[in-house]
Symmetry: C2
Subunit: 238 residues, 2 copies
Amino acid sequence: MGKEYILKTAASEKISRLAYFNIAISVDCVIFGYEGKDLKVLLIKSDFKEFENLNSLLGDLVKPQEDLEAASYRVLKERTGLDDVYLEQVQTFGNISRHPSGRVITIAYYSLIDIKSHKLKLNHNELQWHSVKGIKKLAFDHKLILDICLNRLRQQVMESPVVCHLLPEKFSLRELQELYEAILGVELDRRNFRKKISLKEWLIDINEIETDVPHRPGKLFSLKQNFKRKIPIPTYKN
Amino acid sequence: MGKEYILKTAASEKISRLAYFNIAISVDCVIFGYEGKDLKVLLIKSDFKEFENLNSLLGDLVKPQEDLEAASYRVLKERTGLDDVYLEQVQTFGNISRHPSGRVITIAYYSLIDIKSHKLKLNHNELQWHSVKGIKKLAFDHKLILDICLNRLRQQVMESPVVCHLLPEKFSLRELQELYEAILGVELDRRNFRKKISLKEWLIDINEIETDVPHRPGKLFSLKQNFKRKIPIPTYKN
DNA sequence: TCAAAAGTGTTGACTTTACACCCATGA
DNA sequence: TCATGGGTGTAAAGTCAACACTTTTGA
């Protein structure tokens, strides 16, 4: 059609986009932990009057010069003091009415941390671990975000050893099995579970055994180095 | 710690967030099609001087009052004239340097459309179908986005019948198998493929047969109604 | 009658599940 | 010596992969 196509330049685009500059971007982190055979999530009491007495996920606005992952890491670091954490992007939520103070699009990440070995600075009692099972209602659309992240975690459990990040560095196969059972909400057969795990070759036998258990101690394992942290995303070359 | 927590209200938040209002949001659609036993993607010649002579995905900025899915549908509608399209969010890309004109975070969707039965209004020759196989380089980080969407599509192929949206309403099992082969890049055994598909119970036998084929015509099938469009996401109640 | 694809079952290999006993340790 | 979980193998069921011939249609 007769329309002329004039090439834009970065500079001209910058100007024409001003009309769109009233959307805010945040990240929300579904921080999973595991303790007492129970999958937990770290929540904070909402500081929004609209959601008084409800908990919410941990999140923050993304800074103009900050990558999305960096923002998530910052939230984790600020809230838990941890920086060696498994983190994965799950989904972006952007309904126009999801936030009472205006248009806020949020990119949801889940992360997996070991509650016990990193005693995190729960710097005030409004920040606490909650059993995932017991959570009925959260501020904003955070219950939906939690549910979707939990689904993602469940999908990943059998395909990748990421869930080991919920356990201490060294763990027994029993602990790992209990973790799987907590995430999936099913009971697993011990022999079959061990067989399956050993076939995957995710773990190394570190030649140590449990201590302080009131029964025969089990062998301890560690996640192989190459499975730690995120599977690298394909790098981008142009 | 001694810090006082004052409840925010929507109104006070709105003001304090002004500092963040210089990030733009876009959606990019990886529009897959299928023709001549080849998986294709709809690309447009980039109108950015920085990417002269490169193609890019179809996308647009999200309007302040527009849901993310709505923005993707709008892009599809504007570019293809279609509005009954399968659409799925894949991932969000937000590296600070991914766009030459400033901070643009993009939410990538893939969509599946049937090239033949909806002759789309390719309103100028800068908008064209390209074989996915032959694409080496695209504008921005669009090659990365394409690769990740293609991976997602490949994952979905065996778990869900969404790929049928790439075929006409009525199709033969041969056509479906060829589509699977094109997406996965492998050859499949005809008997095993048919067995597997019939076990899934995704299709209904509509009691029609192919016409205009120079050989014995095959039976035609249709995707069962409940598998059309997106699997509904869990609704959110608070 | 030829060319082309439709339609259809069986076998062996492999994977998954169900299941039970003896062992090592701490209390 | 008891209670607790550690550690291990096998058989049956189910799933997956490989493979070939007859049928139907149009040209």
